[in-house]
């Protein structure tokens, strides 16, 4: 019989980094060397992280396949499991299973401008995709990252931006809803900044992730800018348990976010009811 789909691979926490007050990034190393070799994923996919004694929950891979020495996740403390994750220490054993879901269709994006728009911890869901695009930068034209958070203190991945910016044709635009002393970047909500930046839809793809309210207004802005629904891609989040399209909760109509998503184009989404 095939491998048990619910059974996790054991992994150890090898690095923990506090990103903001309630967001931490983790590096996990799979324990079994054999599994380490075979465990691969594509940017956009997600995994299920298992905190023994507490339970499981899902996260997107924060790192892309091009940087797959460890499994990385960026996690915000919101509930029981994430609270327990935030209590983990280096050396702790966790379980991982996956990868699940679809991925960003980079093959279709060859030679295009990539516009990443993220809000809050939503950047974590796009990081794998961003870093994949940066690692294979020659395949794409301009790479723009528009990232906003509530305050400068809530900005994730602060220390990665300088590396990202070194990649040719890469621009990072940061904004905070409310500024603070020493904040040299923009102040204002993401949709407003987007309007101000005024990117051209020509030969571009916009990839967005963030709180629902941000997505709603960014979508409107993008459409106003002339982006077609096919040019807009997002990644959805719902409560998931199995990751396999079996537990029945993450459906929007007949589509299961865990199996048929989480990556969708807006042209797919606009025909779906607002149940995500």
């Amino acid at each position: 019989m095939a491998e048990n789909i619910y059974k996790p691979h054991l992994a150890k926490v090898v690095e923990i980094k506090a990103e903001t007050g309630d967001i931490k990034s983790y590096k996990f190393e799979l324990q079994d060397p054999e599994v380490r070799k075979t465990f691969t994923w594509k940017a956009g996919q997600f995994l299920i992280l298992d905190i023994f004694g507490i339970g499981e929950t899902i996260f997107t891979f924060a790192n892309p396949q091009t940087r797959s020495e460890f499994v990385e996740c960026t996690i915000r403390k919101v509930g029981r499991v994430t609270e327990a994750i935030h209590e983990l220490e280096i050396g702790a054993t966790v379980g991982l299973r996956g990868p699940y879901g679809n991925w960003f269709p980079f093959d279709k994006w060859q030679g295009k401008n990539l516009l990443y728009i993220a809000g809050g911890v939503g950047l974590a869901a796009l990081r794998s995709s961003i870093e994949f695009a940066l690692d294979t930068f020659k395949d794409f034209k301009k790479k723009t990252i528009l990232y906003g958070a509530r305050s400068p203190l809530d900005i994730c991945y602060k220390d990665r931006f300088s590396d990202w910016e070194k990649v040719p044709d890469t621009e990072i635009i940061l904004t905070a809803d409310k500024g603070a002393d020493g904040w040299k970047h923009k102040v204002g909500f993401v949709p407003a900044v987007l309007k101000e930046v005024h990117p051209s839809p020509a030969d571009s793809v916009a990839i967005i992730c963030g709180p629902p309210i941000m997505i709603k207004f960014v979508l409107k802005e993008l459409l106003d800018l002339g982006f077609t629904p096919e040019q807009i891609v997002t990644t959805l989040e719902m409560r998931m348990k199995c990751g396999l399209g079996k537990c029945g909760r993450c459906n929007v109509k007949h589509l299961y976010i865990c199996k048929d998503g989480p990556v969708f184009t807006y042209s797919q989404l606009k025909d779906l009811p607002d149940e995500y």
């Binding site: 209590e87 220490e89 702790a92």
Partner: protein, 662 residues
Amino acid sequence: MARIGVFVCHCGTNIAGVVDVTRVAKYAGSLPGVKVAVDYKFMCSDPGQNTIIDAIKKYGLDRLVVSACSPRMHEATFRRTAERAGINPYMVEMANIREHVAWVHSDDKELATQKAMKLMEMAVAKVRRSEALSKMFAPIEKRALVIGGGIAGIQAALDIAGAGYKVLLVEKEPSIGGRMAQLDKTFPTLDCSACILTPKMVAAAQDPNITLLTYAEVTEVCGFVGQFEVKIKKKAKSVNSKCIGCGVCTTKCPSKKALSEFDEKLAPRKAIYTPFPQAVPNVPVIDRTACTFFLTGKCKICEKVCPTGAIDYTQQDEFIKEKFGAVVVATGFDIYDHSNYGEYGYGEIKDVITGLQFERLISSTGPTAGHVTRPSDHREVKNVVFIQCVGSRDEAKKRPYCSRVCCMYTAKQAMLLKDHYPETQAYVFYIDIRSAGKNYEEFVQRAQNEYGVLYLRGRVSKIYERANKLLVKGADTLSGAQVEIEADLVVLANGFEPKKGAKEFAQLFHMSSDQYGFYNELHPKLAPVETAISGVFVAGCCQSPKDIPDTVAMASATAAKVCALFAKEKLEVEPLIAGVNQLTCSGCETCYNVCPYSAIEMKDKEVKRGEVRHVAEVLESVCKGCGACVGACYSKAVDLKGFTDRQVLDQVETATAPITDN
């Protein structure tokens, strides 16, 4: 992950003599989250505390468990230790392995050690769920409200004002002064009541920090300590501020139907009146129920005679709303109504009067100008019988308490009578004499020995009216004889009872009262002037019967409490209090109903976007952290910081799990 340090104390041999402390520490080291576990001879000693501080720094600990003595002994110590090392003091738990283990399980060291391990493990489980808490601060409106303008209220107001704080003194009657103003002389010095009270009344009126509001009542209270919002009804006086207190109106007023409250209904008073000549403020009011103009629409004599045009028949009751940081309740008492004492004539015998009526009769400012005559026929009196404990110490009348002053005032009245009329004879029926107080017993002795007052130990069984006399039948239990005294006047030593409407008034503040209606102090010994409601203090006889010196002392005590409260910049609030998760609150008001401190407020609030619900909210500066709401809430919406459900549950789970010591 929590970084817990466990520190196991030997307490010399107190603990280590019974409990294997190294095993406890070793076991602690195996528990999840425990980064370091050590044992030491005396944890509370300086080197012991330094061990803790060093470990906190070395291991980057964020929470501590000290397995030592009772937290009641040293919790504060170790909280300070933690604070010194930069840890939140509320991240400290103690496992009591001395009082609860070593000292009580010395008969089996193995079982004692196991229990010590378990208690330590429970403390670890609890501290793992501890949250950093900090003291909170709330603003204080530095203005006091004193309710009741009797001697208690006046004293409290003067003391608070003396400390430099603003006071609003509210009195229901047209003048301040209260019961003390009605008295003739005071025991045991026999100095004139008015002579010592009036200066205080004037002082209160003149103090720039005190605002007097007479003929006014508190009608609504909301808010809490530091921030009470009080609605006060200023009853229409029908006399405006132009009044200079000349008194022409009161002399000219033709209406004489009303009976003087001040004179205990022994004399009539005018419809426009000041209760007594020394009234403060000296501004009359119109009693609309007695005024000819208000009754018939004709008269207006007072308006005509008023030299300043101060009469205003159109005045309306006025409501004001003001903020106060603290409240002193000094609402006083009523005299027990003896009309349900059949043996004393159901209150229908005119010449059976109350002690307070006697005060008015013998007072030179009273209706008879100090001549003690019988109310029925104004004859002078010869034999006067005083009966003590009327509405006091009487189980049958549901007044089992002692009113504390009646023995003394009876003795005083008997003496005053003899002073005024040496030929009279006073008889006193008593149960026993309570004269605890400085110079009190001497005073009573003087009444008996120097003034020849006849004290008869026993109750009066009946008073008959016979041929213009009163036949008082009673027992002298000392001689065992039945006595019959032919008296001209009987004076009852009526006890004190709560002011009419006291319970309803208590409701305004959510104060609790005892079964009679006297307000409950927070603690009978250690918090005698505080109430369960933070920032509300009680003074005088509204709390229980007492004499003037006690009342004044209590009033000053409330003032001290108020001043202590106001002296703080902000109100410091203990963080171990309840909190409501409004998302899960069902708004059933159970917590609101059970809270002993009225620290729960019900509000319509937007708990989620677009969802307004009726929910509870804890008033942080009022909550005392008892947890009654937590125990009662079935929606599990209230939790108690420092004793959260999560903490208690984890303790329960740990307590019931086996020791996993290998």
